[in-house]
């Protein structure tokens, strides 16, 4: 793409970000999800001014940025909730174009929205299979469209167990009777159950207390242990730096840097995010 992207890109750290897709000589495998030069405008407001993003296999990528930095717009472009004006998205190296969130879901990208997108009056199992219900086998399912309630319940129970979610006891509880952390856990478990390639978490700890946030972060680590790449959008620096392998910093619609928590302090990241400090361009 001949985009203003290059301007933003040369400011990023030399991490696999730019190296992998171009060189080909690198040992790095193709990134699971990659965005190149995404531009999205809303009238005269520039949401994204040419953003590159790379998510490698098995990593947790944090995305931080101030309000209006383009975090949500970036995520919405990746999930098909918005269509970028320019730029391309590659899933496992192949260009994809998502017209709706359903498209990205079918491609294996699951998103846990900030609002969780759960139905409070339905029970846990129903919520985990919402929009993807399983029918009974045989004529009961084919002719009478009967749901396999028992099957869905046992699968939901198994999925929670697999992720080590022990705080939820009864799978037939309605969502509204659960605490915020438990609801979040159910939403993450749903994403993990169906997201075969990428899981995107939008502000998963924003509404939670310390202990419940800790449980959600542990859940994210568990997803990584199981090899699922995760994109974590958050305002909360300690949370991002606690679980992320790399942190993508958005500022004013651009990516102003990708840092690793091991080599960059939280203070520096905040300074980059607010524009107080600029990341030194790396020698190519």
């Amino acid at each position: 793409m001949t985009m203003p992207a290059s301007k933003a890109a040369d400011r990023t750290l030399a991490a696999p970000v730019n190296a992998a897709p171009r060189g080909g000589s690198q040992p790095d495998p193709t990134p699971v999800l990659e965005a190149r030069g995404l531009v999205k405008t809303f009238g005269r407001v520039i949401g994204l001014a040419g953003v590159d993003l790379v998510l490698n296999a098995g990593e947790v990528l944090g995305i931080i940025g101030d309000n209006g930095a383009g975090k949500s717009t970036l995520i919405k472009c990746l999930t098909g909730a918005l269509q970028p004006d320019r730029g391309e998205i590659l899933l496992e190296g192949k260009p994809v174009s998502f017209k709706s969130p359903t498209d990205s879901r079918l491609a294996g990208i699951e998103t846990v929205y900030q609002t969780l997108a759960v139905a409070p009056a339905l029970d846990i199992a129903s919520n985990m299979f919402l929009g993807r219900e399983i029918r009974m086998r045989g004529p009961l399912g084919l002719v009478f469209r009967k749901l396999d309630t028992r099957g869905m319940r046992s699968q939901a129970r198994e999925q929670l167990k697999k992720l080590g979610i022990t705080t939820v006891q009864d799978i037939t509880q309605r969502l509204e009777t659960l605490s915020g952390g438990q609801r979040q856990a159910v939403a993450v478990a749903r994403a993990a159950a169906f997201g075969s390639k990428v899981i995107i978490l939008d502000e998963p700890t924003a509404a939670l207390g310390v202990r419940e946030s800790g449980q959600v972060l542990e859940l994210i680590r568990e997803l990584r242990r199981q090899g699922l790449p995760v994109i974590l959008i958050s305002h909360n620096m300690p949370h991002v730096f606690g679980v992320a392998d790399r942190v993508h910093i958005q500022r004013l619609g651009r990516c102003v840097g990708v840092v690793t928590p091991a080599t960059t302090t939280m203070e520096d990241a905040v300074a980059i995010m607010t524009g107080a400090k600029q990341l030194q361009p790396q020698a190519p």
Partner: protein
Amino acid sequence: MTDVPALLSPEQQLEQLIPRPTPLDHVQRQLHSHPAIGPFLVLVLSGIVFGFLNARFIAAENISLMLQQVAVVAALGVAQTMIILTAGIDLSIGAAMILAQLYMAQLAANNHFPGAVALLLGLVVGVVTGALNGALVTRFRLPPFIVTLGTLSIFSSVGLVYSKGQTTQASQMPGVLNWAGNPLKIGSLNLINGVAVVLGIYLVVSYMLGRTEWGRHVYAVGDDAEAARLAGIRTNRVLFSVYVFAGLIIGIAAWVSIGYTGAASPNNAVDANLQSITAVVIGGTSLFGGRGGVIGTLFGALIVVAFTSGLTLANVNGLYQPIALGILVIAAVAMDRWIRKVKA
């Protein structure tokens, strides 16, 4: 025994501060997960009380009469329940039923269509009214209250124009259209076929709402439409299907109504829309959507009829009866608010 709280760890002491669930909390939780329990208990209780006041209330003939009286409102209640479950409301339900019934009656009586064809075309009219409401709600994103307030006027006017205000008597109609009014004897109960038809509708719809993915989606859309959309449910398609299916049931209700009243008249059941909403609300379905079910509505419709009949048999002036029903509706909505506040 001496007091031992000093031996407890700070955490245990804190836990003792958390109030234990009171029996009332348990009741609230039970009502929350089984919304039809409340109406069922009210029905049983009113049966006992009215039975005490006048033993004729629980005689087979009175029960037969009540079941016949309830059939049409109960059928419309199913359609209304489905729409209210999606957080909508249908004010045009009675007018749509009258339109369908005038159409099927006059096709047979004036245009000499065979009864079965007239019935089928009448059902189609019901479906078309539902589709119109559904299209306005989903395509133009108009609030159901306003849409159906408008179509209420339209349907009743079209019905009057089409029928020229004429009532068609049962004797002018073929047997098929009167079939729902034919006697049906079950044990010592003298019913009409229409009662069995309506019970059938309840069985089918409660299965569809409770056991199929379509039903699950209806609840999800009514509960939180945006969440349902993000979960991959095509919310507009679900909403539209609810209105269309409700239209079919309205058509069947029209058929049952011809059988029960022995005529198709533009003046039949003018306030059926409010009666059906009353049944739904007393039946424990939440006007905010996503909560409730058709079985509650059946109890709700029966409660209304039981109150009317019971108060009459207890020699309460008929002018006072609407007061009792009004109190019942308000109590039911207040109850719904309380139940929805259930604690985690």
